[in-house]
């Protein structure tokens, strides 16, 4: 199964004190087991490392998160090229969502796969044709 994974899923998975940890960690386990192939814009890596840096106040933790996630074979990281930015702009213009939201939606649109996020605003405002799912909809 291939999915675009939003930053909130990684943050919740990696932080046991996050309120969504128990819901999101099983998804991360599936990535570790190669049951899910994750596709993510590089922005997700930055957001995850930065949020966890602020929560832990630890440079080392933030670096470990970055190094481990960027090397994990189950995640494909995508550059935000000008072409990507252009398509994300169109999504942002259409939906009124924030730039980061538009970028993750763009990856889902480009690859024709669902976006997994806990953010209900993205789910509500995503353009028709881009499937947005939450972890509790993934349980089999």
């Amino acid at each position: 199964m291939r999915l675009v994974i939003d930053s909130n899923i990684f943050i919740s998975s990696l932080d046991p004190k996050d309120i969504f940890h128990s819901e999101c960690y099983p998804i991360f386990e599936k990535i570790l087991n190669f049951e899910i192939e994750a596709l993510c814009p590089a922005l997700v890596l930055v957001e995850t490392a930065c949020v966890l840096r602020r929560r832990t106040n630890s440079v080392e933790v933030s670096r470990n998160v970055y190094k481990s996630l960027s090397s994990l074979p189950g995640i494909n990281w995508f550059d935000i090229t000008l072409a990507v930015a252009e398509r994300a702009c169109l999504i942002g213009a259409k939906t009124g969502l924030k730039g980061g939201d538009a970028i993750v939606l763009q990856v889902a649109e480009e690859h024709g796969i669902p976006l997994l996020t806990k953010d209900k605003e993205i789910k509500q405002r995503a353009p028709a044709g881009i499937l947005v799912v939450e972890p509790d909809e993934m349980q089999t």
Partner: protein, 77 residues
């Protein structure tokens, strides 16, 4: 070695490492990685150990929170 040449070499190495990583990811996603003998990185169990240690450390230090709110505020700055 001139500074410019050094930077160029570093960038070239980064590009090769990135291509290697992308190919490894592509191979891993097919499920054939471990059997192919090509992927030299950690296996799934070792990755679990890496993230288990990482998660434990985050849990020890983190103030916790709501990831949706934190990412939303990250995207508002």
């Amino acid at each position: 070695m001139e500074q410019e040449e050094r930077i160029s070499l570093i960038n070239e190495i980064k590009q090769i490492e990135r291509e290697l990583y992308l190919k490894r990811s592509q191979l891993a996603s097919t499920g054939d990685a471990e059997g192919s003998g090509i992927y030299q990185g950690l296996n799934a169990t070792e990755w679990k150990d890496v993230f288990s240690r990482c998660t434990e450390e985050i849990g020890r230090l983190s103030s916790g929170g709501n990831s949706v709110e934190d990412v939303a505020s990250e995207r508002q700055r």
